[in-house]
Amino acid sequence: MDFFGYKRADGSIGVRNYLIVIPSVFCANHVAKQIAANVPNAVCLTHSVGCSQVGEDLEQTARTLKNLATHPNVGGVLIVGLGCERFTVQEFYEAVRENGKIVEKVVIQDVGDSIKAIAEGTEKLQKLKMEVNKYKRHKVEISNLTIGLECGGTDATSGFAANPAIGKTSDLLIEAGGSSVFSETTELLGAEHILKRRCINDKVASSMLESVKKTESELALSTSKERYKHRSDLISTGNFDGGVSTVVEKALGNIHKTGTSPIVGAIKFAEKLKVKGLNFMDTPGQDGESTTGLVAGGAQIILFTTGRGTPTGFPIAPVLKITGNNDTYEKMELNIDINAGRIVLGETDIDNMGKYILDNVIEVASGKKTKAEILGHEELFNIPRVLNYCGK
């Protein structure tokens, strides 16, 4: 099976051809936004990190920003820096250039002031646009695709309709030589013993189990204080309203997203996939943070199941929304791409829905816009912190 994608210098294939403006530090956010606003269709990835960080916390920021800037869906990059930040513009710029991506940089303290930086950045971005527009789509195999498996606004139908359906899609893509990634470590609690049996070796299994153990002990500590008793639910009010009672019930529904393929890799947040096939990435359970990790890891498309219904999207990757709840589809048809609630109505089954979703993935990979893209949703870009220095 084939789709039409953009061939990049590093051999990866983009399903979109974005021109992005990306700050190396939050201090450059406004300048970056103004530059992007001056050049139609440029996408700006503002964030809240890049300085006053150390160790894995700073490393995770660096890894996430580099891996997003070198993402296959990106055609060209303008880095905007302040000049004194810990994640330096030079390190960022060199990483993107080494990847073979077309890249330019603007440093506010070098240029003079923010207005001068906006002027210089706008000119550089316009020139980048001329280059990025030279990319054309070519026919390639779907083995070049990696999909991220995300869920948010879970209800009971996610576990028995939408998640099993995208699990089937994931299995079909992997059979065709592609990859998929699941994440959200908090939502594996109570289901890890099942996933463990599917890991290809002890190294992958122990890495995944270690992530679950660490997350669970942090959750247990955070929820143990009497004064936070009213802040200690491990799943959301919407999950409860939708019929999900415990974090374990949520996890057991969640893991159906992974289908039946063997788990071939366990990677850190935002780390690029090393092995093709089904991979686990250690991420927070928050939709935005998880999706950011999945995209940075190389997912070109996100399959996002939602029983309660959420409109969110990601700035540089199409997010396909799938609900297992027919009522939610009818209420939110402008936001939700696929109605897997038809399984519950008895109109189709999980296998056929999984195939239908793969057909949709291929169309989206070749350029068909998802509903989140059409409406301009991009809330899911959110880089998490590993460390914080107050409030403990």
Partner: protein, 94 residues
């Protein structure tokens, strides 16, 4: 009124309602007619068997929680009467 339920694994002692159910609505499980003892919404769980306080709640063929009180067939099963210890400190831990 007869309602449709979904028992995901045959090990499960709870099932999911496939429509909103009202007290007195019924379904058949293992050749027995079970009446809903209370209103239960779409997607929520109903007990298929008697589950004593402290016993396992099984869905997807796995333990999702333990009963906080005795639960009878036809009862709504949710966080008012079941609890999981995952993500919580165990007795004696600090």
């Amino acid at each position: 009124m007869k309602i449709n339920i979904l028992q995901i694994s045959n090990k499960d002692n709870v099932a999911v309602l496939l429509s909103n159910g009202s007290r007195g609505d019924h379904f058949t499980f293992e050749n027995e007619k079970i009446n809903l003892k209370e209103n239960i919404n779409f997607g929520h769980k109903v007990a298929l068997k008697s589950i004593k306080k402290g016993n396992k709640i099984i869905k997807y063929g796995e333990i999702i929680a333990y009963a906080k009180e005795n639960i009878e067939p036809g009862n709504w099963v949710h966080n008012h009467n079941i609890v999981s210890d995952r993500g919580r400190l165990k007795d004696g831990e600090k």
